[in-house]
């Protein structure tokens, strides 16, 4: 039996243990189920519905119709079905949320690990950069970025990604420092392990669980950030997302009109998905960090 297969078996059993623990956490499980359902729905929407329903030039339903048997959540200011809009909006919100999180956590982990591992002036420089981004009001920076750059999903992803990484960086740096202080790292170094070996084989695997938890929690805030930017009219104005639906509802006078059916669904969509991500993240955090495990 080779050394790596032992490692893999140990990892598999650890993962199984994590899953066992996670299953025991009811909130986390509910969150996971809801998330799964949302993701499946978002993936299936092109198969189950007709995208033409989003095209303002091809709908002929009455404008501002309240919920009815035909339109379960009513219609918007152009006669489009709000249920359909909300459903399609899931895709943009999820995609932007996930992509922005990958970007943010990627930058954060890289800088965190590098800063902790190399120390010295490299660490000082990276930490000053992190501090700089940390003290910038991220919403203002994101607004500025999405005003300057061409409109589109990519810009929103970039704007959220580059403004939300500093907290991940600090978290990862702290974790890396504690890991690098342990004897097995010293041993690996003594045996001739270079930077690449130490980071790749020892530091990263040990930091990854934390990064993973952090990712789940960052997705939630990225989705909120996406909705915020779209609500402020900075997103792609012709692409349906929850934020842009709320924006349209506000601009078109849904509040004066009392068209609650146009305002509530996207808002509730954000709440549900963010809540699901957060409860998953919290549950994972509890599982992976024994100190958080209370008496049950």
């Amino acid at each position: 039996m080779s050394g790596s297969s032992i490692v893999w078996r140990r990892r598999r059993s650890a993962a199984a243990g994590v899953w066992r623990e996670f299953r025991g956490n009811r909130g986390g499980l509910v969150g996971l189920v809801v998330l799964g359902a949302v993701v499946v729905l978002a993936l299936l929407v092109p198969l189950l519905t007709d995208e033409a329903g989003l095209d303002v030039t091809r709908v002929d339903a009455p404008l501002w119709a309240p919920p009815s048997a035909e339109h379960w959540l009513g219609t918007d200011n152009t006669g489009r079905d709000v249920l359909l809009l909300t459903w399609w909006g899931t895709r943009v919100s999820l995609v932007v949320g996930l992509a922005a999180t990958v970007l943010s956590v990627g930058i954060g982990s890289l800088i965190g690990v590098l800063a902790a591992h190399f120390g010295g002036w490299a660490s000082a420089t990276l930490l000053r950069v992190t501090d700089f981004f940390l003290v910038l009001p991220s919403l203002v920076l994101a607004i500025a970025l999405s005003t300057v750059l061409p409109r589109g999903l990519g810009t929103i992803v970039l704007a959220i990604g580059v403004t939300s990484w500093p907290s991940t960086a600090l978290l990862v740096r702290a974790q890396t420092l504690t890991i690098e202080g342990r004897p097995f790292i010293e041993r690996a170094r003594a045996l001739g392990g270079g930077h690449r070996h130490v980071i790749g084989r020892h530091v990263l695997p040990a930091v990854l669980p934390l990064v993973f938890v952090n990712t789940t929690l960052t997705v939630a805030s990225a989705i909120v950030a996406e909705s915020t930017l779209s609500f402020l009219g900075l997103g792609d104005p012709t692409r349906v997302s929850w934020g842009s639906m709320l924006h349209t509802a506000t601009v078109q006078g849904a509040v004066s009109k009392g068209a609650w059916w146009f305002l509530l669904p996207p808002g509730l969509g954000v709440v549900v998905v963010v809540l699901a991500f957060t409860s998953c993240g919290r549950a994972l955090e509890t599982v992976l960090d024994p100190r958080l495990r209370g008496e049950r």
């Binding site: 303002v56 030039t57 061409p150 009219g233 601009v251 078109q252 006078g253």
Partner: protein
């Protein structure tokens, strides 16, 4: 120790609660009850758009020119009923037989707000300033472009000589400024003109201007038609229409316009809210960048070259579904667009002999024929290899632009033209349009009863100078035929013959498509019925309160008896405030007394 802390909390709570009760009650009536003028009623108008400048020579935005009108009278005015020219600063006029010399009489007794007499010299000064200073021609240069000379042989007589007969001599929409003030202004371009007191001649005078917050005007007691029935006029800025509608519902503002269809419908059943729907004189248009250039023909901006091809513009115009946009974006509260003059202006309104219909197949065929074949991704590619991806620039937070953009994007996609919608704020949009950095642009203009100004916006001469200033072109349109007709109509004094030329110009505009007129919005306005009994609409009936060709709406605002009556609430308020203060003091004294006693007990 614990008890003392609890008492401190209770004291804070008492003060806090009282503050919360008294504070909101205190703010509203104080703002409304500044007793200036006769009855002391303030008309508060909600603004949802930005002001470019209060300098009457520079302002081209709707709000800026409207405030300019309120502060400075013109030489002549338009009747509220039928818009015919009536007395402004001048009360009489004659023309020479060759129609080249106009003599206006500026009567005695009209005064500037600082008490100085208004004379023909002030008028001559204003026109001459515009003739000699390019910057002073920015906003209204078209009116004086044809002037040979302007003189005031005596304080009561103004003589204007024109190079050729000019049709707009009784429709000179130029605010007349006082010579004794403006003679000292050396730098017109940077004169903000917003520091009170601003000497004016109109029914209202500027009191205070805070950009993007409010513009406060007070009634001019010396106004020659008589002082207005209200004492103050406030324009209060709101970030969006919904906020303004809520403010109207709560009574924070009295008058609001440019309502969206949804908002207008939602106010139908509201208490104390009066509605006014009029045929509008504004149009919305989709501008094509048909080749932005300066007045010397130097190309500027970065417009898509394909739009300089008239066949492309004509084909794209066929892909604009004007009727559906009126039906679904305007909620039916508009009339479909044809030419530059609205249908409410029957004399000059233009109906094409062969109307363009919405026809995607024809648009596709025309684009194919013009040599713009579809590329692999379905987007057409021009002979120069550039894909037909166009930027469409509109106003952020303007419901019309957002929604119409969606329609255009979809329709244009069907003819193989990609549209990237960019919604930006008003000032940025102005910069974008004057620098020609757009392909497609939403624009919207108000029209005067006289067509000259709106027609002039599309002449070569109105394009900006090399520095990007000094012109207010709308479309950068520069067409020989159009310019020739423009010159012709300007000298045609027979209004019927002139109307024919004006229609011919609109036909040319329609065929060359520097822009597609999308529709003429109905005017949707709402006001507080409990505070204002009536407003003078223009034209009457069926006109608007705000955005008139005059000041009648604000000047003729008549408060209700309830609004003018001394407020019972203010006495009640004084009692409430005094009572509140007494309770707070008494409560505080009692609590302090208790606390002293408590500490004394603790000491024992």
């Amino acid at each position: 120790m614990v008890t003392v802390r609890a008492r401190r909390w209770s004291l804070a709570a008492v003060v806090g609660v009282l503050g919360a009760v008294v504070a909101p009650a205190a703010t509203t009536p104080v703002a409304a009850a500044q007793p200036v003028g006769q009855q002391g009623v303030t008309l508060r108008v909600a603004l949802t758009r930005q002001v470019d400048s209060l300098n009457p020579f520079l302002s081209i935005t709707q709000v800026g020119t409207e405030v300019g009108r309120l502060m400075y009278d013109f030489l002549t005015a338009y009747d509220p009923k039928d818009q015919r020219p009536v007395e402004g600063l001048a009360n009489g006029w004659t023309t020479s037989d060759d129609d080249l010399t106009w003599t206006f009489t500026v009567p005695e007794g009209k005064k500037w707000s600082d008490g100085e007499e208004i004379t023909a010299e002030d008028v001559a000064f204003t026109y001459n300033l515009m003739l000699t200073n390019e910057v002073a021609r920015t906003a209204n240069g078209n009116f004086v472009a044809n002037f040979e000379s302007v003189t005031a042989p005596d304080p009561r007589t103004l003589v204007v000589r024109t190079k050729t007969p000019q049709a707009t001599m009784l429709a000179l929409d130029v605010p007349i400024v006082p010579e004794h003030v403006w003679a000292g202004v050396t730098d017109v371009e940077n004169h903000a003109n917003d520091q009170a007191p601003v000497v004016g001649s109109g029914p209202f005078l500027l009191a205070e201007h805070r950009p993007n917050e409010f513009i406060k005007l007070t009634a001019n007691p010396n106004y020659w038609r008589g002082a207005p029935k209200i004492s103050e006029l406030h324009f209060v800025s709101y970030k969006n229409l919904d906020a303004a509608v809520q403010a109207l519902g709560k009574g924070e503002v009295d008058l609001i316009n440019r309502l969206g269809p949804a908002q207008y419908d939602s106010l139908r059943d509201a208490d104390d809210i009066g509605l006014n729907k009029g045929r509008g004189s504004r149009f919305n248009e989709l501008v094509f960048n048909s080749g932005a250039a300066t007045s010397t023909g130097e190309p500027i901006g970065d417009g898509h070259p394909a739009l300089q091809d008239v066949r492309v513009r004509q084909a794209l115009a066929k892909a604009v579904d004007v009727d559906t946009i009126v039906e679904r974006v305007n909620g039916g509260y508009a009339e479909p667009g044809t030419g530059l003059m609205p249908p409410s202006n029957a004399r000059f309104h233009f109906t094409p002999a062969r109307p363009r219909t919405f026809d995607l197949d024809a648009a596709n065929a025309d684009l194919d024929a013009a040599g713009y074949a579809r590329g692999a991704d379905g987007i057409r590619v021009g002979p120069d290899g550039r894909a037909l991806n166009l930027r469409l620039v509109g106003h952020a937070n303007r419901a019309y632009d957002e929604q119409a953009a969606e329609f255009l994007k979809r329709s244009f996609a069907d003819v193989g033209v990609g549209v990237d919608v960019q919604l930006v704020d008003d000032n940025q949009l102005n910069d974008t349009s004057t620098s020609g950095a757009f392909d497609l642009l939403f624009s919207s203009w108000g029209t005067n009863p006289d067509p000259d100004f709106i027609l002039s916006l599309h002449t070569c001469a109105r394009r900006p100078n090399a520095a990007g200033t000094g012109g207010t072109t709308d479309t950068f349109f520069c067409d020989e035929t159009y310019d020739r007709l423009y010159a012709q109509q300007a000298t045609e004094v027979d209004q019927d013959a002139r109307a024919e030329i004006v229609k011919e110009m609109q036909q040319r505009f329609y065929d060359q498509v520097p822009a597609v007129i999308l529709g003429y919005d109905n005017v949707l306005e709402a006001y507080r019925e409990d505070r204002f009994a009536s407003f003078q609409v223009q034209p009457d009936p069926g006109g608007s309160i705000m955005e008139q060709n005059g000041v009648w709406g604000y000047y003729g605002a008549t408060p209700t008896d309830a609004a003018t009556a001394p407020r019972g609430t203010s006495t009640g308020l004084v009692v409430a405030v005094v009572a509140g203060v007494v309770i707070v003091l008494a409560g505080g004294a009692w609590l302090i007394g208790r606390r002293r006693r408590a500490t004394a007990e603790d000491r024992e």
